[in-house]
Amino acid sequence: MTSKLKTDILETVSGSGTIALTNQLSGMTSASVPSGSVLQVVSATSGTYTVTTSTSFVTTPLTASITPTSTSSKILVTVSAAIYAQSGGTYAARYTIFRGTVSGVNLGNTSNDGGTGFANIYNGSGNSLAIPMGISILDSPNTTSSQTYTVGMRSQGNSTGAGIMTENTTATITLMEIKG
């Protein structure tokens, strides 16, 4: 048996307190939820070791796309990956997140240890160095069009490589739309 109730506002009998829900409420896809709520989560993984000696940011396989439901939404971008700087002299490897491709908007800080990005590694001894990397950044794309977020990386120079997904370790990029 199904019955339909049509009303504009639900209110407690006393005018205060809460309305309890004893069973499941479905069809919430169009609900207008409070600010700060997570509206959707998108995640992508990659486990392919990738290395570059380019001193300009290059695209890594770590990328994900999301379509915000509102222009006021924020996107929390989190990245977890193993990163690697190859041996050979004094060098550094740098990592950042682009909104779009590497020719898009670099969300990283412009003075990140001498270069743009969110994360970097440097080993003055000249030996290789592998570490875990984590990035969390809250972006405001101000659009309802599909947005792609890409992890970019570059070498500092000296023909030494910057790597990611070290030893083919699985890396993850997660996008969470936060209600504005």
Binding site: T2, S3, K4, L5, T7, D8, I9, L10, E11, T12, V13, I19, A20, L21, T22, N23, Q24, L25, S26, G27, M28, S30, A31, S32, V33, P34, S35, G36, S37, V38, K74, L76, S80, A92, Y95, G108, S111, N112, D113, G114, F118, A119, N120, I121, Y122, N123, G124, S125, G126, N127, L129, I131, P132, M133, G134, I135, S136, I137, L138, K179
Partner: protein, 173 residues
């Protein structure tokens, strides 16, 4: 427009309560809603990009902080932060991190080092992610602060004005 005063919504066995196709249930613009346990209620982020040089095992404020006001005493706060450390060359260089909830330490690296360096040939610089799930049991504003220390020798936080971030997520309890 009509208002219905009720105490509880229910439905017949085998059914669920649905929002009619194409209609919107507004949980935001007036009144409030109690979200299920585990829901994210708010997200706050702070950034900091000033270098702090350390040469002591005493934890000092790094400058990286963010403030959040929980909506319930049962809420948990997921704190995620990154730190960029530079360890100078030398034997036993180390670097530690502590998370403060106002004036209370809620996370502390052991023996003043999360990272350790012994290269004898140059310094080491690296970006480190840390996270901690806190239960503050308050609805007052809380400031989470990242403190840092040196295990030995000289280290620096946010070397060369590197930007680091701290993200606070309130999780419904």
């Amino acid at each position: 427009m009509s208002t219905i005063s009720i105490k509880e919504l229910s439905h017949p066995a085998g059914e669920v309560i649905k929002i009619a196709s194409g209609k919107t249930l507004d949980l935001k613009t007036q009144g409030s809603v109690t979200m299920p346990t585990g829901s994210v209620l708010q997200v706050i982020q702070g950034t900091y990009s000033t270098t702090t040089t350390l040469s002591t095992t005493t934890y000092t404020d790094s400058g990286l902080s963010a403030t959040i006001t929980p909506s319930s005493t049962s809420s948990k706060i997921l704190v995620m932060w990154t730190t960029h450390a530079k360890l100078d060359d030398g034997v036993g260089q180390g670097w530690g991190c502590k998370l403060m909830r106002n004036t209370t330490a809620v996370y502390t690296d052991g023996t003043n080092y999360r990272t350790y360096n012994n290269p004898n040939g140059g310094d080491t610089r690296l970006t480190i992610p840390i996270s901690h799930l806190d239960s503050p049991s308050t609805t007052s504003a809380i400031t989470y602060k990242v403190q840092v220390s040196s295990h030995a020798g000289t280290t620096s936080f946010n070397h060369a004005s590197s930007e680091t971030q701290i993200t606070l997520m309130e999780i419904a309890g």
